[in-house]
Symmetry: C2
Subunit: 276 residues, 2 copies
């Protein structure tokens, strides 16, 4: 693992690191905020998964998470959204290939060689971070924005017992039925929709739900709402009697101005679960 940068931040450290990923077969970069408490003892860890076109950097610099994470004594990790590099397959579209990994393991060419973001977030990166930093693997929660909200929801439901709480900002909720999803699931996983179900939060909610609290925020003026389909997840959560809070926030759009407006709520929500 290489240290690319470390900056003092709200009494703790905001670092950027890279490492040779085995599952993605390329060098991967991530951001990690460690609060002051991590100098004494392992602290809980919140995963923040980013959306289409983002790297590890967008949320780290624009979401405003560190202030509240420092107050709550929680680490926050900002992974990249796909494998990267010259040898890694890509597409001219912004919503496929690099920057658009969709948090799954691709099985189709040309993607299968590097696109293993599920295994990267579920296994490889937590193992590395647990070894290198003072984080407590027994206390993890997860959040994300847009495609990253999709990732947070599907990882939370797909790894029962791993995360104590899950939240999402403007998540893609039903990719198997959305233009933000059908193209990508077909490209990465092939046309057989049976394999898509464990990468669709609405289908997973109908099937199993999440054993813990959930918090979902979407703006009423989200310009991509028809692609996100918040109504699909809202219906599935209520039909399952899933504990959770589903909010439609008046006037907000899809931007980081929305995320930063409510990140304090989300970190307080996760802190309550992580400090129990």
């Amino acid at each position: 693992m290489k240290i690319l940068s470390e900056n003092a931040c709200f009494g703790g450290v905001q670092g950027v690191y890279s490492h040779a990923s085995q599952v993605c077969d390329c060098e991967m970069t991530f951001g990690l905020f460690l609060p002051q408490e991590a100098q004494q003892q392992p602290v809980p860890l919140l995963w923040y998964l980013s959306g289409l076109t983002c790297t590890h950097e967008n949320a780290m610099t624009k979401a405003g998470a560190q202030a509240w994470a420092a107050e709550a004594g929680i680490a926050v990790i900002f992974p990249d959204t796909s494998p990267r590099g010259e040898g890694v397959a890509d597409d001219a579209a912004y919503d496929l290939g690099q920057g658009a990994g969709f948090y799954l393991n691709a099985t189709q060419e040309p993607w299968a060689a590097h696109y293993a973001m599920w295994d990267y977030i579920a296994d490889e990166l937590p193992e590395l971070v647990g070894k290198e930093f003072a984080v407590d693997a027994g206390r993890q929660s997860i959040t994300g924005h847009s495609m990253g909200g999709h990732g947070a929801l599907t990882l939370a439901m797909g790894l029962p017992g791993r995360f104590r709480s899950v939240s999402a900002f403007s998540p893609i909720t039903h990719p198997s039925q959305s233009e933000w999803g059908k193209k990508q699931l077909t490209a990465y996983l092939g046309p057989d929709q049976a394999g898509w179900a464990r990468h669709d939060a609405t289908l997973m909610m109908r099937e199993s739900g999440f054993d813990g609290p959930m918090l979902i925020d979407t703006g009423t003026k989200d310009q991509f709402a028809d692609l996100l389909m918040p109504e699909a997840l809202a219906e599935a959560m209520a039909a399952r009697r899933q504990q959770g809070v589903f909010r439609m926030q008046p006037g907000y759009d899809h931007s980081y101005f929305f995320v930063s407006s409510f990140i304090a709520d989300h970190i307080a929500f996760h802190a309550e679960a992580l400090h129990q």
Copy 2:
């Protein structure tokens, strides 16, 4: 109007009053909490509509609303749930007739003579209260529980501009499709479902929505959840991009222990809208 009782309560007064209702053609009783501020000037008014089998008294004694209404400087009115008296039609079932007015104007016999709860809550009672007490008709909000949640939602959407905010505890959300609704709508309004639409919160949400904030709470262990159909309203709210918060509260059932656990949240929610 007769004063049946007045008790000092959290610095204000909890009163119970009765009056000859013209629209219901019978004597009607209601509870009204006035905070201390009402001695100086008109205060905002929150309507609390109760559920099946309730009178004006249940929420007044069991919801614990007065503590928070006093803190917020808000009056709370607790109407009855149906016309009452020996000459008023009734049914042996708990969910039809007296105690089960469903907040509509019945058109069918034997109900049409007295069952005019829509007109009573929408017109007659606010006029009386505005004349007799220091409440500000320009600042009203509405909430309710179960059948009263249905009433709150349908009145809020059916009277645009009247209420600044609406909330509900465990509301009946889709009576035209539920066993808590089909029987009553048929009995009161007749079998033609076209007339049911303006008494079904989910259908009204699909049609028009509410021009203000909404807050809905339902318990994940609500024993009547299959009759309430929270998923129908959750889907409709998100599909409309209705500003609002939809919560499934872990472990809570349909009782007043649920209502009292979250009444503080609801009154704070309404206070924010009423004091703007």
